[in-house]
Amino acid sequence: MAGTASAGVRRSPLAPYLLVGPGVIWLILFYVVPTLALARTSVSGASGPWWGGYARAFADYGDHLGRSFRYAGLATAAAFLLGYPLAYVMAFRAGRLKNLLLGLVILPFFTTFLVRTFAWKTILGDGGMAVSVLSFLHLLPEQGRLLNTSWAVVGGLTYNFLPFMILPIYVSLEKIDRRLVEAAQDLYSGPLRGFTKVVFPLSLPGVFAGSLLTFIPASGDFINAELLGSPNQRVLGSVIQGQFLTVRDYPLAAALSFVLMIIIIALVLTYTRVLGTEDLA
């Protein structure tokens, strides 16, 4: 009796499909179908050839596209340089403080994204604390400013997506067998070579996942560019938003959005080939 009940729960061939059903249907209806709708809208220009939206996207907004990816790339590199040491300290040096540090890394992100970015506007503003400190250290020329520059935009992007870099690196460092690290230090007689030969290669899956999780949202983000940059720092996301919601040139807007997506997919695939990991999830 009990045996059949158990078999009933365990082996019903329909059970997994019933369980995934509602969520999967939702994702198909509101993720897959919308992507198709976006593609359709992008080729539905009333006048001109079907690819008219794409032609204008590259001709008129190539600069914005380039800036989006340049800022995202710089922010990803900066997040790696800042995030790796912190993740390393959390995994190997924090001892009992590990969980506290983990909490501290996540905590700032419980305040609203937009309010945080506005706070950077205050910090970086003319006469704000960052300008004063940097001028005092002669790192910034007189009358130099931070707000409304590319530096501010990259800084804001780095800040807002840093946890997405830190957490995957931390997880992959945490998984490394400590005995391996000790053995490496014995064999290579030095912590630095032990790190470059053993610890760093083993943490690459985390670096890989972290850089994708930073780069992808950063390339689509337009809040940092809008709040911390000037019109000279306008990125593709801003254009897509404006074309969809204000100008209402839907074919162009959809083409821009589609181009952003295709380029990201292409970059991610290349990156995956180069680093050769599929352990994203």
Binding site: V9, A15, P22, G23, Y31, R116, G220, F244
Partner: protein, 278 residues
């Protein structure tokens, strides 16, 4: 030999200090805007914009509901977050259970479908949904915001719950059944308590993401205004310190919630450790 090892140790000690210092600076960077947000909730700005420090005041804290539009926006955000979290937690948990407990045809594509929304920039997610709603002449508003929030939350919930219950010992369920428990009793007395911590963590994440979402919401909100949308609009008209009061309150609220959950989970794991035979 011995000296070189000692030199290595000294070198690593200095290197370690440097590393600790860098980590400290990065933490400072992470917290700098948070200090500013909290500090400026006590500011009495000279004009309509709370971007420059003038003087200390408790005005905003003693009158947090001064701006009805801000209060309405907050109410809307909480309502959207509550509904979308509830639905997404159910959908996502069911997917996670299916993926962890069964081997079935199509589990690969399901996994892919979960990861894809996370690797798509928000501006693409938001504009795709809007393109869909435009094609079907669906007016955007409350319902479309909730639809969008459920969509991006399902993936986060499913992946979080999945990560927590991977490697979980499902024979416990069979043991309970062998001892005569009915399937519904097994579900409520064995399965649910074991996966509960994962579900709680996932639903908190989902709630936080919904409350914070700006870009996807912007595309699908119609004339509705959530809290992030209110903050965005505030850059043009007026940016009162009450915005900082709300942000600080959200931070404190999540801190308290996080504390409760951590305390509860530690107690649970301690109880599990104390059980005989474990």
């Amino acid at each position: 030999m011995k000296t070189s090892a000692r030199e290595g140790a000294v070198g690593s000690r200095v290197g370690g200090r440097v590393l600790d210092a860098v980590a400290g600076l990065v933490l400072f960077y992470l917290f700098l805007p948070i200090f500013v947000i909290i500090l400026y909730s006590f500011n009495k700005p000279a004009g309509k914009f709370n971007f420059v420090w003038k003087e200390f005041s408790l005005d905003a804290w003693s009158d947090p509901f001064k701006y009805p539009a801000l209060v309405d926006a907050m109410k809307l955000s909480l309502k959207v977050a509550a509904i979308s979290t509830l639905v997404a937690t159910v959908f996502g948990t069911l997917i996670a259970l299916a993926l962890c407990r069964y081997r079935f045809r199509g589990s690969g594509p399901v996994n892919l479908l979960l990861v894809l929304p996370l690797t798509t920039p928000e501006v693409v997610l938001g504009s795709s949904l809007l393109a869909l709603f435009l094609q079907f002449n669906t007016p955007t508003g409350f319902a479309t915001i909730v639809i969008a929030h459920i969509m991006f939350s399902v993936s986060y919930v499913a992946l979080t719950v999945k990560a927590r219950i991977r490697g979980f010992d499902w024979t416990l369920e069979e043991a309970a059944m062998d001892l005569g428990a009915t399937p519904s009793r097994v579900a409520t007395k064995v399965t649910l308590p074991l996966i509960a911590p994962g579900i709680v963590a996932a639903s908190m994440l989902s709630f936080a993401l919904s409350l914070d979402d700006f870009i996807i919401t912007l595309f699908n909100a119609g004339s509705e205004v959530t809290y992030p949308l209110y903050v965005y609009g505030a850059r043009r008209a007026a940016f009162p310190p009450q915005i900082n009061v709300v942000a600080t309150t959200i931070l404190l609220g999540s801190l308290i919630l996080l504390g409760i959950v951590v305390f509860w989970q530690e107690r649970q794991s301690r109880m599990a450790m104390a059980e005989p035979g474990k």
